[in-house]
Symmetry: none
Subunit: 189 residues, 2 copies
DNA sequence: TGTTAAATCACTACAAATGGGGATTGTGGA
DNA sequence: TCCACAATCCCCATTTGTAGTGATTTAACA
């Protein structure tokens, strides 16, 4: 299910992290699972497609994490309702091993399914980054500066985004980003 | 600071809730402070201007809470960085009483400033019409045609809208219109 | 009746986005 | 190895929006 994919676990609770790692290796054959005990900014550069985060770290660094386009899974000890299940997904750490595996399967399936259904053409990670910044109200020049790329590149990405999504307006892109959990109202300028 | 204002505390931790309640009454003279131990949907109908939430409840119901326009304060036990301090604001429950009062003051001040700016000038009916069309993804020329007015007039209205609301970006206006019930996602092009 | 605010229209200069062409790297998969 | 694709960069012409400074008409209202 995670074949060829990298996973990062960020949790100060080492036992919890190790437990999750062993479950992932046993049932989902990921390419690699890394563990960090602290949040740091190297996270942006990490290759992981899935990032598991303890709830405290998620809360404390929410602002920074919003720009992250990778799939987030929050580790919490609280029973969550079904609706709030996607993006960020949540995993109740008090569940039994079998239940955990089930929940993880659901999470991985949803994400896999989503990317196939929603668009015939998937956005690349970079395109999603640009989309998020557009939706948050930054102009192309600001996006270029933020991502340290040229204005031309930003425009290229935007051309591809509008083509792939078939959405031509900033309002439309904003709504798309909101409905797909890429941004939250408070992110917008 | 909270004069005449209602507050709701949602936390399964009763002691924590009662402690917060007593601090609020002692230092901020709110109109009323209610306590709920569980999250339920009556929250939408509650009059509270401020809602304090335990971090677990916030995490579990994040999706639903995104639509809430009331001011949220999350109760966490983790030291958060300064950046992630506004909306939702966070309150570290491990702080001393004096520190707590300081932090709360900061939170209330920030929000007070914000709401004053917001209410400064009301939009005229025509401005709201224009705002809605902007948020739905129409360009000025299309708006002019739809309203049978000149492009100049549309631009005039937009200038007034951005000045009154203090929102300069299309994304921001879109989100404003959405959060204020002026548009629905399906309206957007 | 004089004041005020809304709604309308206009000009200028400039900033930003769009839509159409391209090109070059590097990586990973078939 | 070859191909596809992501990511980067470039040029051009045109459209759209922004910012500042105006004016006129009408309707409300104290």
């Amino acid at each position: 299910m995670l074949t060829g994919k990298n996973v990062l676990i960020v949790s100060p609770n080492q036992l919890q992290a190790i437990g999750l790692k062993s479950i992932l290796y046993e049932y989902f054959s990921p390419k690699e699972v890394d563990i960090q005990s602290e949040f740091d900014n190297s996270l942006n550069k990490h290759l992981a497609e899935y990032i598991f985060l303890s709830s405290d770290i998620y809360l404390a660094h929410q602002k920074k994490l919003q720009a992250i386009t990778r799939k987030l899974v929050i580790l919490t000890e609280f029973e969550q309702d079904e609706e709030s299940f996607e993006n960020p997904a949540m995993l109740n750490t008090t569940l039994s091993q079998t239940e955990l595996v089930d929940k993880l399967e659901t999470i991985f399936k949803k994400n896999a399914g989503k990317s196939e259904d929603d668009q015939n053409e998937k956005l690349s990670l970079r395109e999603i980054e640009v989309l998020v910044l557009v939706a948050r109200g930054f102009i192309n020049k600001q996006i270029a500066d933020k991502l340290s790329i040229s204005l031309h590149t930003v425009m290229s990405h935007r051309k591809n985004i509008t083509r792939k999504l078939g959405i031509k307006t900033v309002s439309g892109l904003t709504m798309y980003a909101l409905l797909n959990g890429l941004i939250q109202p408070k992110d917008v300028r």
